[in-house]
Symmetry: C2
Subunit: 346 residues, 2 copies
C-alpha cells in the first residue's frame, strides 16, 4: 500500500479538504500513475452532494485524470514508465458480459467499477483523481498523444469522450447539421469535436453571452434559447442535437428543431423525470436517446483524433485549495470552460 495526499469530502455536502488515502500495491496488470492534472466535472459535485443517490465517504472525486506512468506491474504490456496516460470514469468492468466482450465497457451489465465513489474488485472504495497517484489496471488506461498538453488533455477523459461518443455514434460529419445544447464543460468540447468531425455546428445556449467563444471554438451559428424566435427560425433544421444540460427542458420544443429521423441525445440529464408528449417523436420518426461516456477503445480513438486536430479543452488551472470555490463557480456556470486542478498543489 502507498499513502498519498488527496482532497476529499469527508461527508455528503461537506467541503473538500486535504487528507491522505491508501493506494493498493501495483498488481501484475496495474500501472501506477503520478497524477499531474485532474479536471473538475459537474458530476463530481452531484456526487459529493449526493444528488444522484447515496454515495461513499470520504469521497475523493475526479475522473478526468492526466499523468505519467511511474511504475508498472510485471504483466503490463501496454505501458512503460514515463508514458503520458489518462484515466476516465471507469477503472474496471466485469469483462464477461456481452457489452464488455463487444468492447463497450461503459455499458457493462455486470457492473463496472467507477473511478471514484465505486467499489473495486478488491472490495475497497475507489478514490479518484484529486490526488497525487492512482493505481489502475492497464486495460483501463489510455495513452495521451504527445500533441496534447496534459492539463488540457485531462477534461477529454470525461467531457471529451462523453460528447465524442454520441457524435460518432449518430454520424456527425460532413453534410450534417448538429446542434449543441449548452455551452459549458461538455458543450464546449462538443462544439470543437463536431466541428472537427466536419459537421455544421450550431450552439443553442440560454443567452448570447458566450457567443464569441462559441464561434471561435468552431460553431457556425449561435442562438439564444431564451429567444422564442430561435425555435421558429430553426424548426426542422438539425440531424442531431446533443444536449449537455442537466436543467429541465421543454423537450417538445427541442424535438421540433429536428429534421425527420433526427435524434436528440442526452449526455446531461436532469435528476427529475421530464415530461414528454410522444407525438413529438411520432410526427417525424424522431429519436430521444441517451449516451454515457464511451468505451476505452473509443476514448483512445478520441484522444488520437484530438491530437490530430489540435484539440484540447479550454481550461482554468487552479490549485487544490481553490476546489471548493471552483465548485460554487461551476454551479453558477462561471467557468470557461473547465477547471483543472494542478495536483502538484495537493
Amino acid at each position: 500500500m502507498t499513502t498519498v495526499a488527496a482532497y476529499a469530502a469527508p461527508a455528503a455536502k461537506a467541503p473538500l479538504e486535504r487528507t491522505t488515502i491508501e493506494r493498493r500495491p501495483v498488481g501484475e496488470h496495474d500501472v501506477l500513475i503520478d497524477i499531474k492534472f485532474a479536471g473538475i466535472c459537474h458530476s463530481d459535485i452531484h456526487q459529493v452532494r449526493e444528488g444522484w443517490g447515496q454515495a461513499i465517504f470520504p469521497m475523493v472525486p475526479g475522473h478526468e485524470i492526466a499523468g505519467v506512468v511511474s511504475q508498472v506491474g510485471s504483466g503490463v504490456t501496454k505501458y512503460q514508465v514515463g508514458d503520458r496516460v489518462g484515466v476516465g470514469c471507469m477503472v474496471d468492468s466485469c469483462r464477461e458480459c456481452e457489452n464488455c466482450k463487444a468492447g463497450h465497457e461503459q455499458y457493462c451489465t455486470g457492473g463496472n467499477v467507477m473511478t471514484y465513489n465505486g467499489i473495486g474488485k478488491d472490495g475497497q472504495p475507489t478514490y479518484g483523481g484529486y490526488s497525487e497517484k492512482i493505481v489502475v489496471d492497464e486495460d483501463f488506461v489510455v495513452r495521451i498523444p504527445d500533441g496534447i498538453e496534459l492539463d488540457v488533455a485531462a477534461p477529454l477523459l470525461c467531457a471529451g469522450i462523453t460528447t465524442y461518443s454520441p457524435l460518432k455514434h449518430w454520424n456527425a460529419g460532413p453534410g450534417k447539421k448538429v446542434a449543441v445544447l449548452g455551452m459549458g464543460g461538455l458543450g464546449h468540447m462538443a462544439v470543437k469535436l463536431a466541428h472537427a468531425l466536419g459537421a455544421e455546428v450550431t450552439v443553442l445556449s440560454q443567452s448570447l453571452r458566450k457567443k464569441d467563444d462559441g464561434l471561435k471554438l468552431g460553431a457556425d451559428h449561435y442562438h439564444a434559447t431564451s429567444d422564442p424566435a430561435t425555435f421558429e427560425q430553426l424548426r426542422g433544421t438539425f440531424d442531431l442535437i446533443v444536449s449537455t444540460v442537466s436543467a429541465p427542458l421543454d423537450f417538445g420544443a427541442y424535438l421540433s428543431l429536428l429534421k425527420t429521423d433526427g435524434a436528440l441525445v442526452n449526455v446531461g440529464a436532469p435528476e427529475e423525470p421530464i415530461s414528454l408528449n410522444l407525438f413529438s417523436l411520432i410526427g417525424g420518426r424522431k429519436t430521444l436517446a441517451g449516451s454515457s461516456i464511451g468505451s476505452i477503445r473509443e476514448t483512445q480513438e478520441m484522444l488520437d483524433f484530438c491530437a490530430e486536430h489540435g484539440i484540447g479543452a479550454e481550461i482554468e488551472l487552479i490549485g487544490a485549495a481553490e476546489i471548493n470555490d471552483a465548485y460554487e463557480r461551476v454551479l453558477d456556470s462561471d467557468v470557461r470552460y473547465r477547471f483543472v486542478i494542478d495536483t502538484a498543489t495537493i
Copy 2:
C-alpha cells in the same frame, strides 16, 4: 360530382349515421374506387370524439380502405378498371418538401392530406372509407395482391403499415428479439409481421387472456405486464420494443427491458405527456422513438410482403349498422382483432 352513401358522425362525439356525401369528379390522375371493405381503427374513434383536437364535421372516418377500381382518369398509368386496390391514411401530400421528394410522404412537412378529417387540395374536407366510393390520386393508391382477400387486406392499410414500417426501420429480423407491447389491432399485426420478418417475438400484454391467439399468430413468448416478475425476468432482453398502446405506461420499466442500443418505438401514444427519467436512456444508449404509418412505396412493399407470407388481419366483419356498437367494443378492447365494415351494407 358523384353522390355516394356513407356513414358519418354529424358532430363531435355523436353516433355515426347513414348519410350521403359528394365525391369529386374523376380528375386526370384520379381513380374512382368502389370500396368493398373499410377497417375501423382506434384513431377513427379518437377523431370522432375530438380526442386529438378540433375536427371537421360531418366526419366520415375510415383509412383502411380496400376496393376495386371502377373508373380511371385520362392520365392514369398505374391502375386499370377492375384492379384490386387500397387506400390508407393519406390521399395526397405537398410533393415538394425534402421528405416528399425522398419518398417519405408520411412525414411531409408541407402538410399531407389525410384521408378524412383533412382538407384536400381543392379546399374541400376529405371523407374516408365508411362509404361506397372514393376518388383518389393514383399516386396515393396501392395495389392489393391477388393473394390477399380484400376484407383482411383493409386493416393492412393502417394497422399493417404502421407496424411494418418501424419493424423494418429498426431492423427486426433474424437474430433480433422484438417485443410487441399491446395485443390489439396494431399489436396483432406487429406479431404477424415481426414473426414473418424472422425475429424472435414476445408479446407483452396486460394479461394472458389472448396468449393462445398470440402464440398462434407467431409469437414465441407471451408475458403479462400486470405481473411484476415479467420485468425481472425480461430485463435487458430486447433489441426492439414496438409499443402499440395509447394508455400511459411506466416507460422506465419498459426501457429496462431493452438491451444496450435498443429502441422503444411508439406507434400508439397517450394523449397526455408521459413522465420519463432520462437516465433510463443514458444507461444503455437507449432510444425512445416514434413512427407514423409508412410511405406509399413502403405500403406497397408491405402488401407484397403480406401476400408472399400469407398474412392478412384477423377480423370481425360487421354491417354498417353495427359501427357504433363496434366503437364501444373497441374502447373495451373487445375485438379480435379488427372490425371491418362490409361497405355493401351502407
